[in-house]
Symmetry: C2
Subunit: 802 residues, 2 copies
């Protein structure tokens, strides 16, 4: 079939093809002889040197400067790595270097194609940033040999850029996030230009496709700039890319529509002049936009520059092998000469390829790069892309207001989120340039809108409000929020991501990948701590008056439970005062992923500020006021974890006190989920004794949990006497209905708790029957009445105290 189709004549062109006039929107530049000869030579030799090292890293275990003719023995036994993207990454590095050296530009480099580690490591070695942080890789023959021979071998550098890579603020792995991370890094860094290469594979992802809009949220007066470089090399692992099949007209139209001035770099005969001219043009445009804004005359909808670098995949690599194109095809994606270890033909091709860079001209025998190469490397270490302070040592401590000042009176009814909103308002006042909130269009709905007393939304495209600026980004893209949060946090500032509970799972894998970066970073001896990733989940499954089944998904808790315990924190503060204490702690904590879960509706304030403080420090306490005899010597322990389910536990205790007064009930609230983990499995895990003190040695325990029961079961596994434990929690039931109905549907209601409390004792059989009858009556007869009652009263009835 394919052959037949290819044999057909060209189909007629679509009469409505894009008109050529769109190309007028693409930026035209004079590029011929743009660079002085010495600079041209310098960038070309830098590129040759870095390309050489990158290629050698994939293949050689010895003879790393081609001192002798390459033999099969010089070839690594397993050939691993991704060549295809390397030359493009090197081009950008070389030209950034030239401009930094010449102009003192402050730049970071965010690399989307993170599997191009050899390219970046080669450049880092050339500028001696590798040797600075990792002394085992000095800029001499020893260091070069180690870099080349150990790459992708166990114990050497891995094949993706990660926290071990100097200058990196983005884990190379799951694709789609480089661009939003770059925008986060540029925020509140007015002098910084974050160059960001996006591969044309990554460009197919949704998160990247919307991140192009991110400039609409950048105020050029207060923030730096991102220079996006779309690297179109045409191929993914084994298929054409979408952007590779789009012509210049389609690409120009698309990015013009996103709001950019587009410059397509594709003159392969004058490639370095083209890149240099294009980069200088872009930087000039950036400066123009920034100067206008900073002089108080901001340009409306400024059209920021972007570059499209259209070069063949694996440029400078082997042209052909066995009659198939290598350069410019998907065959160069990973190892272009996969049989170099055994095939004489491929070994010959490798020798020819590597020799073509003329390493003898580029390096001395001692492995020192030549003068031309050194001439475009930034002189000051602090300017080098591998040693920017923003990338590893820039943490700005957050000033937090006294949360106790915002506390509510015990016994009142308050919304946790409204309390937090006021706290965040004060945080913004105290930290006007180092704290931001990234929210997917739900800040008001989540009742955090007190922040708008002191700040605004930073939406620059909104001419009506004239881009009034502010600390809040509200874009209906969780991915963009998360990427910005990562970039902002990893460059030393503090952010917060509040979200509907159901929709935080959208960025679950991003959060996991980030936490891998954090883990590796903490294992280096040179990366300084950074702020935590802070999440608030509200609009939870427990309240479905406005939404329904699709808005029920508490699975993000489980995602955090799966992280390395050292970095994972989950809090479910039971009231507004506890929430204030918790958020204050989290915003100051370093290196963690902090997840806070709570209600936006008014709910009882159970604890005074002092009690809340003690409760949050302990992570869980006996709630004497809800227990029989202050909880001493209980027959059963009832545990609430989460706002609404704790309310039901307390209501159950009231029921039991009335209907089974002989039962000694202890009520416990857990606010720090991690205390439950078996001793030793988490830094917060209770000791055996503390667990026993809280939950007794052998009394039945019933947990009423906000999340999926299976998570709590997993957490408790290993604690003694598990047979005495029962657990209810969110069970994938619900619809648009009343809050109490949600509890009933998921067996977290007071009747279910009361039944669980007395299920073990035969003497309570009559009471079990009574409670079951009450629940059953509710289900059969009262459900609609209760629904109607709640509904008619216009509020979440049963979540008022008593």
């Amino acid at each position: 079939m394919p052959a037949q189709i290819i044999a057909q004549p060209n189909p007629p062109a679509d009469p409505s093809l894009i008109s050529d006039s769109i190309l007028e929107s693409a930026v035209q530049l004079k590029i011929k002889d743009f660079l002085p000869q010495d600079e041209l030579k310098a960038v070309q030799e830098f590129r040759r040197a870095a390309d050489y090292i990158a290629a050698a890293m994939i293949f050689l275990n010895d003879n790393v400067l081609l001192e002798q003719k390459t033999t099969h023995d010089n070839i690594k036994p397993r050939l691993l790595g991704h060549w295809g993207t390397c030359p493009g990454l090197v081009m950008v590095y070389a030209h950034l270097n030239r401009i930094i050296r010449k102009t003192g530009l402050d730049a970071l480099y965010v690399v989307g194609p993170g599997h191009g580690a050899p390219a970046i490591l080669a450049c880092l070695w050339l500028e001696d940033s590798l040797g600075t942080f990792l002394p085992e890789y000095p800029r001499n023959y020893t260091g070069l040999k180690k870099l080349i021979s150990r790459f992708s071998a166990p114990g050497g550098f891995p094949s993706h850029i990660n926290a071990e890579t100097p200058g990196a603020i983005h884990e190379g792995g799951e694709l789609g996030y480089a661009l939003s991370v770059a925008f986060g890094a540029a925020m509140d860094n007015p002098d910084l230009v974050v160059a960001c290469v996006v591969g044309d594979g990554e460009a197919e992802t949704g998160p990247t496709a919307t991140a192009w809009h991110a400039y609409k949220y950048i105020d050029p007066a207060e923030s730096g700039a991102v220079l996006p470089i779309l690297h179109v090399n045409g191929f993914k692992i084994s298929e054409r890319t979408i952007f590779g099949t789009m012509d210049d007209k389609e690409i120009t139209a698309l990015f013009t529509g996103y709001g950019y001035q587009v410059r397509i770099i594709e003159d392969l005969l004058n490639l370095d002049n083209d890149i240099a001219a294009s980069m200088e043009w872009a930087l000039t445009e950036i400066k123009k936009i920034q100067q206008a804004a900073r002089s108080g005359k901001p340009i409306v909808k400024p059209r920021w520059p972007m570059l499209v670098l259209r070069t063949p995949k694996g440029l400078s690599g082997p042209k052909e092998l066995h009659g198939e194109f290598i350069e410019g095809s998907f065959h160069s994606h990973q190892v272009p000469l996969p049989a170099a270890k055994t095939s004489a033909e491929e070994l010959g091709a490798l020798q020819k390829w590597l020799s073509s860079y003329k390493p003898g001209e580029l390096f001395s025998k001692e492995g020192e790069p030549n003068v031309a190469i050194l001439s475009i490397i930034p002189e000051a270490n602090t300017k080098k892309l591998g040693q920017r302070k923003e990338s590893y040592a820039n943490y700005i401590p957050l000033i937090t207001p006294k949360w106790e000042n915002l506390c509510y009176e015990k016994g009142s009814q308050e919304s946790c989120m409204k309390a937090v909103g006021k706290f965040l308002r004060d945080v913004i006042k105290e930290n006007p340039k180092s704290f931001r909130i990234f929210s997917p269009d739900e800040l008001v709905s989540n009742k955090l809108d007190a922040v708008f007393d002191v700040t605004g939304r930073n939406m620059q495209w909104d001419i009506a409000s004239r881009g009034q600026g502010g600390r809040i980004v509200e874009i209906l893209s969780e991915h963009t929020c998360q990427g910005m949060l990562q970039g902002y946090t990893l460059t030393g500032r503090t952010g917060l991501f509040p979200s509907y509970e159901a929709f935080l799972g959208i960025i679950q894998t991003m959060m996991v990948q980030y936490s891998k970066f954090a883990k590796m970073g903490s294992e280096t001896n040179w990366r300084q701590p950074v702020g935590s990733l802070n999440y608030i989940e509200t609009s939870t499954w427990t309240r479905q008056e406005h939404n329904g089944f699709s808005h029920q998904n508490p699975s993000f808790i489980g995602a955090v439970l799966n992280l390395k315990p050292k970095f994972a924190r989950v809090y479910l503060p039971p009231d507004a005062n506890c929430f204030l204490s918790t958020v204050s702690h989290c915003l100051r904590a370093k290196n963690y992923v902090n997840l806070m879960v709570g209600s936006k509706q008014p709910t009882p304030v159970w604890l005074t500020p002092e009690e809340a403080d003690a409760h949050c420090i302990a992570g869980a306490t006996v709630w004497k006021f809800a227990s029989v005899d202050d909880g001493v010597n209980p027959d059963v322990v009832l545990v609430g974890i989460g706002v609404e389910v704790t309310f039901e536990v307390i209501a159950a205790a009231v029921l039991l006190r009335k209907h089974a007064p002989e039962l000694r009930v202890r009520v416990v609230n857990v606010t720090d989920l991690m205390i439950l983990a078996d001793t030793g499995l988490h830094p917060h895990a209770l000791s055996h004794d503390a667990f026993k003190n809280l939950f007794t040695e052998d009394r039945p325990i019933h947990f009423n949990y906000h999340g999926y029961p299976i998570e709590l079961k997993g957490l408790l596994f290993g604690r003694p006497n598990l047979d005495r434990i029962s657990i209810e929690g969110y069970n994938e039931e619900g619809t648009t209905t009343s809050p109490f109905d949600m509890m009933i549907s998921n067996d977290t209601d007071r009747f279910s708790v009361a039944i669980a409390a007395i299920r073990g004792g035969a003497k309570f059989n009559d009471r079990i029957a009574a409670f079951a009858h009450e629940k059953c009556s509710y289900l059969k007869h009262l459900r609609q009445k209760e629904r109607d009652y709640i509904y008619a009263n216009g509020k979440g009835g049963q979540f008022t105290k008593n």
Copy 2:
């Protein structure tokens, strides 16, 4: 600050603003008097009727045809619902109806703004599709009263479109997926046009931003078309939308770049003529493209039509309230008159608003719509948008080849994925028009490429291959793959989504939302079963030679564990023969989410086809060949779940047989994870007796598990004697390294298993010390040697048998 800025004069316009010539790319049409008067009247009255019902649904509990003047008593006690998007959804419905009635068009309607349920329910009631499936909502006064008064009240329709909504194939909730779902539905339905409304909130999401490219994967010869309608109403919950701030030039440029012909509908004075003319134009363009392709002369890069409907939010609603704009602002997003129950002013505004539709003209007293309205409703039920067979009763059973024919010899070394690839090749041959594979650019890497023997990638933009067509979509967007899979599956066909293990979590929340739709669908009495969502995870964390830490994330298993048990299935087949049996079963199963996890590397074939069949049916069996005395009367039970960790269990059994021959070891493999759940918690859960037979009553059990240990702990919770159980699994450790090193790093290696096996017996203390010493030696001294050995041998050494 904002006030000051607003007081400034307009900043100077950017000299490089988009040139006006781009507007030439936007499609211009003659719209004046496009519609004959009777048709114009009919669509306008249909719109008035549906808008009226939708508005009434949000407010009224009585007096539903305004028989009397509205009083506070007529108003619902809690006002819930989303008005803002409703009028736009109704416009599209009305005009689709007109065209269907006139031309017999086969159309589905996918609604992105799923919270606009009132609009859709109103239209469904008008066309009597509601009454057809849900007899309690007949097309008369009784039905209308029930529809209006019960909406958003507990027990009535929820506020989002879901599986209870006739005609719907997309859950309204988490945004971003309508467009890709529409494309999936259009595939292999050559005569179908899937109209898809995307709200401008949803359009900000990443998944939508890349889904616009999906036409590049649609072959107009074999598939139907999607008619995308971007509804720009300018506002989200409380903020401008990105698209709302983009002018016509920006929008035209953007979508021209995506490859579309753009028609912007914004003539509010001639709105119905504009929509009608634009829709007819679009359908003509679609037909042109399809006819060219079907006559063998496909248009190169056909520019499919798209519509941009730019209308004020909440059009036809109240204009102003308390001096603020309602219509055309975010204030109309939900309830435009929130105090209608208590405020005389708002009640008056409501009376005025509802009366403006003149319901008396539209409905008889018996609630029957008037003749004009009925005149544009499709006559044949099967043509009505609410009764399309594709949306509820179209399951095409999959013909599966005999998997046994593809099995391998016991004792050989085979790749599970290569085996599956051959099976899929045969499935494609047998089901040329009802089976597809959606893959994020990893099909070859995942070793499923045998499918390319009989089919190709359906990438139409690739001129080089001339859009050769085929059953495979490879786009580097997991979201697009998932959306297409959902649309394809829900319209009755069968799909498969193979993925790197680490990256399936990207679509975790989509999968959960889909499963909610499936659950609700199964609870209706009119939706027929559909195929399962089938996932294969490979390139797992156990093999990191090519990638590394960022490619390690087995969390999708946990996501499936959290689903309603009735719909959730997780399989970890231990060898190629078991994988064949499993995939064959899954592709035929209905309504489930099936997750299959396995290796792409060659691994031992442990079982004959007959044994594999029995093993997969049982879900878990004793592996006698690896046990002492066939596993009779064991001292300890060792359990492998997953390919590589099972290999280590078997290796541990060999070690133990040699060094602790007096220990009676039973080896068990679990291939169906759900058998472990406590009795009654999952349909596959083993009975107490079966569990006891497999795992003994009281012997120690050690699980060596592929996923996160916490998941297994949660699953096993409730089984008796948990104290005897120990579990190891993926523990968030690893890098680019050898397979055995990955096992060691995560304590799933043979030494760790052997130590776990004998940890309880004092008499084995010497052996514990010996194994610990071996592991320690490995870590201290041998690790590098082993790494070097594996590395030097160029293969995953220890996963060969013995």
